[in-house]
Symmetry: C2
Subunit: 265 residues, 2 copies
């Protein structure tokens, strides 16, 4: 009988995609060259990510939205066309170009590459370190749809489709889990408890439905955290039963006799 090598199951590689990432620009300087409609869209993405944005473009070239961002001081404005020295005036974390001037665009791309500044030249895929997609936003939840340049209109169609399908308050459920994690670290700050914290949070995520997660109140969280000590996770109905002292927590049979730690919050 021939030896048969056991086939291991690892994810199959499917090339041709992009590396989808959530870039961190909070408090970092980003230069936007141009002030038209495309620039306006880029600026929204950047401000939603708390970037410090500078727009270089003659005032006459600003569309109403970009002009509004300037007049309301959401961005800094340099009222003239781009000059190469702009790239050296600050430590730019990123440069986005959206001007109708292929020669100028290519020059800026080359200057950025010499300085190792990540850059995106709108509508010129070979002169882009990264592309943008269509983004759904709901609080801490961000969903980006990319068609890898094959159908930008389909990307926003799919984004709208997803937005409609998502449970209401999906963003809220994520906030809740985030808050629970923070509170848990407050009552159990010991680094050595990392694995216990992680496995308890995993159990919480697994046990409750999305709808339940959305419904969870401050009071529910406070009660839920009492179960971390004995490493239990009550049914959501039990949490409901504990509201406003409706049930005596110590009588719930999810607890065994070993329960005896104090919530520090």
């Amino acid at each position: 009988m021939a030896t048969e090598k056991k086939q291991q199951k690892f994810p199959e590689i499917q090339g041709g995609g992009s590396l989808m990432i959530a870039w961190q620009v909070r408090g970092k300087n980003v230069l936007v060259v141009g002030g038209g409609e495309v620039a306006a869209g880029r600026i929204v993405h950047l401000l939603n990510a708390d970037a410090v944005v500078t727009v270089v473009c003659p005032s006459s070239g600003l569309n109403p939205e970009v002009a509004h961002r300037v007049s309301s001081s959401q961005v800094t404005h340099i009222n003239r066309p781009f000059t190469p020295s702009d790239l050296d005036s600050q430590d730019w974390s990123m440069v986005l170009v959206a001007v109708d001037d292929p020669a100028a665009s290519t020059l800026i791309w080359k200057l950025c590459k010499e300085r190792r500044i990540p850059a995106n030249i709108a509508d010129v895929p070979p002169e882009c370190d990264f592309y943008f997609g269509s983004v759904h936003r709901d609080g801490p939840l961000q969903i980006m749809v990319s068609t890898n340049g094959k159908g930008p209109r389909l990307a926003s169609m799919i984004r709208r489709f997803i937005a409609k399908q998502l449970p209401k308050n999906a963003g809220r459920a994520i906030e809740t889990i985030g808050e629970l994690r923070v509170k848990l670290r407050e009552i159990a700050p010991n680094p050595e408890e990392g694995p216990k914290r992680m496995s308890w949070m995993k159990e919480v995520s697994d046990k409750y439905s999305w709808e339940e997660m959305c419904e969870m109140s401050e009071e529910d969280m406070h009660n839920l955290l009492k179960f971390y000590g004995p490493a239990k996770v009550p049914a959501f109905d039990d949490l409901r039963g504990m509201r406003a002292g409706a049930a005596d927590i110590d009588k719930l049979d999810v607890f065994d006799g070993s329960f005896g730690f104090c919530v520090g919050a």
Copy 2:
């Protein structure tokens, strides 16, 4: 009567997010430091984006999946721990670190920043130029779900939820639109026709449902392109009717008398 300034409707800024981008690493060198489970996941993301991946990690530290990537030559392997000179041995487009050694991680982060190499130190948010999310992939379609670090488990829950909701063949519909755009450029390559091409493609995207887009065959596309000349878009039922010469295309009333260009494909 007091002058009332007309309120302009521009997208409201909702800070606290990330800049969601599709990073281009095709053919670029990426260094992965570490060979455990997290590294294995990073490597899949990188290979799916056609990056040229080098893994630096002693063989003893490779998990079965990373060992498989090495033995099948999907990645280059440097069989020893990381040393700073690794950063200068190639023009790294990106460095991803996933080792259980906070001091080494921080050192690599600092060295990357000195060299302006974008980097991600797993599980150390302040030492990350970017985060990863949970990614759904279907051909050219990529959907990333990020909870901005608040709930990684929820991110993959939401990603699975979205995958289930999406129409079957969503990726295929995008391929179809992409192919149609390429074929259109073949039969109407004149740059001056850009606006006509764009407005026709927009009409196609608007007119057909997703299901119709998924159903579109090579033959349908061939027939559809005949309508570009007169700048019309037939109902999808008309395209169905034209299959295998079932209808005489010239008798369809979507055409007026001016139709008379030749498909070059």
